[in-house]
Amino acid sequence: MKRKLSITITILMIGMLGVIVTGLTFGDPGDHPMDRYFIENSQQQSGANNVVTAVLFDYRGFDTLGEAAVLFTAALGATLLFRKRREE
């Protein structure tokens, strides 16, 4: 019973993801005003030749701070789990 349910959910999820193929074309990103802006302006505005780094640390720098915080969270969580405890 549970196994059948799991298989049904899997097939359902694959079917839902299958819609991707109908909506997007590989190799043709279509109109891309935001990325065009990055490619054309990031070098002058941020001074970095690497556009990905410019996006990562300048335009979307706040995401990078969040991502560093996620890593910090995981490190704290792991140390907390393996800490020495008083009751044991």
Binding site: E40, N41, Q43, Q44, Q45, S46, G47, A48, N49, N50, V52, T53, A54, L56, F57, D58, G61, F62, T64, L65, A68, A69, L71, F72, A74, A75, A78, T79, L81, F82
Partner: protein, 154 residues
Amino acid sequence: MQMSSIVKTTADILFPFILIYGFYIIIHGHLTPGGGFQGGAILASGVLLLLLAYRYSESTQIVRQVMMKTLESTGLLLFIIAALSAMVIGAGYFFNWLSPGGFIFGDIVTYGSTVANLNTGGLIPIMNLAVGIEVVGAISVILLALLSGIKEKI
């Protein structure tokens, strides 16, 4: 389990080279593929090499958890203070105020330039360095914590 002295010596010799390579990747993050996370992960792989080559008791003498935690926090504080520093000059949070300034990391780059000039990028190299320090600290802390969890078995 005790590793042979060949392994230990090789690890000792390789370690500085891994460090140099990691720092190269971090510092050139705004010019070539790479950056803080990638370079930090390479640095952490050097730490992992030491942890693997030596016994748990020995390696924790070389790689101390307190030191790594301090590195982690220092990197993150450097990052967030670099981001907050823009507020001092009246701009928004995360504004890259160093970039076209002609000051440190402040050379002007024109569109389409392919010259790899290290003295560009404004806050980006500083943030890359901060993230690199943070990542090596965080990954080492995670490795040490996981290792302390299974140390009875080795």
